[in-house]
Symmetry: D2
């Protein structure tokens, strides 16, 4: 193990502790002391004994674990939404994505993980206590390097004064994607349109249908198109082979997701005609690839 | 635009064409010819006119678009499952993940996108037609470099004969994660346990409850722990601000997801006692971080 | 079989025909002629052959069959809502219930069936074509006797001019329950409060969340209390024992249900004190019986 | 109010007490004494004050209230299932329905309410404590008259020894419908087929998918046809007009419902030809009425 590696320690009762590896560290838990020399020797996937004899499992935390593990003082975004957002927004290595508000940093953390060392997350938070909290959570998982954090009110847009234009560390301009988890996103559409590149996908999370209606109304005259509204439900089952059935209860609602795309520039009109193309470069279009509709029947 | 860049062309009626940019290419569609010089000049987020005057939008495809766009001849895995799998399996830049069967390559594509240039996907497919199809789909999106494809029956395990032990291109050993979308996954648990590193998360997709029961029964004596079973539902809404309501119909079922973790090695026992730790390195464990339970009430 | 008995004939392909028994009747179908002498001889639960040799099953239609079988020219109310409404509104033998609009008569039919010969349904419909259609559907199932149908605009309340006060055939006053399936129910709350007895349960069906919000806002200052909003989803499974799984698709939305209770009169204040009660009539209250909350965990 | 009338008293905090009206009765509650003279004077829909000044509302309980109010010592059947069962089984005034096990009597109560004075419920329960409990619950709501209760093991069928053949009070033969809420319903299909009339609808409730598979397998060679499997979900909303959204959590599972129909007799074959029908009695069949499929799109 290397200094800074993320590890998840799971107690016999299932309590979980997220730490970054530090040689020689000793951790006090309710079930006794854990020495990180032992953790290193046991390795991920192994288990160590506290000095009282209780066995803790050592795991590499998944992104799911990281998201669920953030110190929270407000409602976090759930994995069931985050996973879908990653796909709809095309988040991946090298992507530059804008996010507001930072909140507890759960989504920030997942975005930071997925954009990798070559991408960047620009996250905005107006409230001091959340700005601090999200920073802590990012540090705790060692992902702060790829995140530019702005304590800034997005009412004035997503281009903070202190930025160096064109400097990817401080300037979010031409971002590849944007996500807003704020109470009144319709107030920030103009700023959102100004910070993302044309055609960029954007997303929103809102708890009430009233807010969805208001956002939809604001999206209509905006540069954003292809508006979708959806909700995601996860139902778990009791994993008993001979008595398999759903759990008694489930989360009924976390928030509604809205997705759209920046409409982009006007139709391009060629100033002068082009010469006819060489025959070898004329191709028939492949059959239309897929649809935007999740509802298409499986084959 | 650069040679090989992925672009999505959307016709006025919403039909979508996924292509890789090629200078000078001319595409024939039902609405007329599109010249890629124009596409380049318009840029992503812009739009071009066919020679018949129909405007096509030019977009950078999201991962969602790529997954939905695979040429399919069997049921693909849906974005609603893929997003969740990415998080549960900790997929991200640098991760090495094993997958079977390749099928049409939809999941392979998403995994390949997310592991980045430093990660790798090892995908196994027994059936010739799907092996070919998944290869085509990966080539179409330019992600073949990061995927080691094996035409191989996983009944003999996930360590193909031709591999060079320790060579990340050909040897999947010590993979960080594994996903099986096959009809009888219980037949491959031993092989799965042998190819992943201890503590690695694994996932399965199955269509029927009978298969879930059979898998759960096989998982009980296996090295895999922390078994979870769940299903994900997405419900869309008609995005009309003053008449907001869910769509009439929705996808009721694609498949059930099962997640587990390789149990890892035995509890590590230190051969000789360690000296007492220096005071500065003794820390109280932070409050237990999160739970594995999605059902926890939002704050 | 007796004249007027409801029978359901099901063709080999599953097409269904709802008829009332008439001795000597001959029915022409695509698969041939069916003679009702044969139907009578075969009896409910039996089957008859058309003159071309195709076997039709003879069933007594369930209420579910009747509701699904109404001739419709607008969206009907689904069984999944109707069943719940019956329970929330306390519909049963002897109950007097007001309903608007009649629409195609699907709910009217179910209410009429359940109130029996001693109850009554008072149904209001403003539009001529639906007034006629609902009448036909009620006649078709022989339930018209228990329904007082009013072609009347409920904007003027639920007490039509032509009524004879106190005559249960023409006067809906002091109804036991009320249900509104109309576009703007908030316009009729005053009339609704005036026609039901104090404490009566009432229900509403609305398709959009905007309408729900508007209704909720109107209910706040109204005499109606205990407001509940809910939706009901039914998911079917492929009934194959060894490959049991949900169907691919399902109905995602029909309408939202709102329930409330007329608040009743003020707190009763006894004009003069009562003498102390004889000991034998003093009882401890039984443990509180149940809750209004569907969410209570099963035991 | 009349002796025996069902009333529901609701405390200021929402605690509910189900009683049958008895002149002169005094009820002790935590908030003080309630005198039934006052309840009578206030009337249903009114409210009374305890001697300590707390106001209790007086309501006529709906069937929903009655079902939720049963003294339970086992999992009851929920209203969301009961309502649907009433429609699928054609329960209504005059219907004779068989039920097992009685359990706490929740379903029994709803069936008894709906079959009216001319119908009858035949309920079977093997376990003494539940036989007693269900009896109490039925007495508490004054519906015992219409219920024939049998303390009897249905392994020997639904035709108890003590019955007087043809006597509707003691003989369930030729029942119109049947519902089984038991652990191994496949053991009782033969008895079920023997007690219902041909073509009768039957229903089952089971908690696990394993049991559903086993029941489906047993239904295949049985006289029962038209097998359907489904589940019902209810999601509630916070009834706040300007902040309308679903509640955080919901019941995820109570049980799966299975419906079928007794297949009936063989195809009837007329012994001798009938004379040709008089012209006036030949009718074209009306357009096929509805379908059995809940999935049909709303118009």
């Amino acid at each position: 193990m290397k200094q800074g590696d993320l590890i998840l320690l799971v107690s016999p009762k299932g309590k979980r502790y997220l730490r970054r590896f530090e040689p020689g560290l000793v951790l006090h838990t309710q079930e006794g002391m854990i020495r990180f020399e032992d953790v290193d020797a046991a390795g991920c996937g192994g288990a160590v004994s506290t000095h009282l004899g209780h066995a803790f499992r050592i795991l590499r935390p998944s992104t799911y674990d990281l998201v669920k593990g953030v110190k929270r003082s407000t409602q976090i975004m759930y994995p069931k939404e985050i996973g879908y957002v990653l796909l709809k927004l095309g988040i991946g290595p090298g992507v530059r994505v804008v996010e507001a508000g930072s909140g507890s940093g759960g989504l920030t953390l997942a975005l930071a993980w997925h954009v990798g060392e070559t991408g960047r997350v620009y996250t905005f938070e107006r409230r001091e206590e959340f700005f601090a909290l999200s920073g802590e959570n990012l540090d705790a998982v060692g992902l702060s390097d790829r995140v530019s954090r702005f304590r800034h009110d997005i009412a004035t847009g997503f281009l903070p004064d202190g930025r160096i234009p064109g400097d990817p560390l401080t300037d979010p301009s031409d971002a590849d994607a944007l996500f807003l988890d704020v109470r009144t996103p319709w107030d920030y559409l103009e700023g959102a349109a100004a910070v993302v590149r044309p055609g960029a996908p954007v997303g929103f999370l809102l708890p009430t249908v009233n807010q969805i209606s208001e956002l939809l109304a604001a999206l209509e005259p905006s540069p954003f198109e292809d508006v979708e509204v959806l909700e995601i439900l996860v139902r778990r089952y009791k994993p008993v082979p001979e008595r398999l059935r759903p759990e008694d209860r489930m989360v009924a609602h976390t928030g509604f997701l809205v997705f759209a795309r920046h409409g982009g520039r006007d139709v391009y009109r060629r100033p002068e005609p082009l010469p006819p193309p060489p025959p070898g470069l004329v191709q028939a279009a492949p059959e239309a690839a897929g649809t935007t509709d999740e509802d298409a029947l499986p084959d």
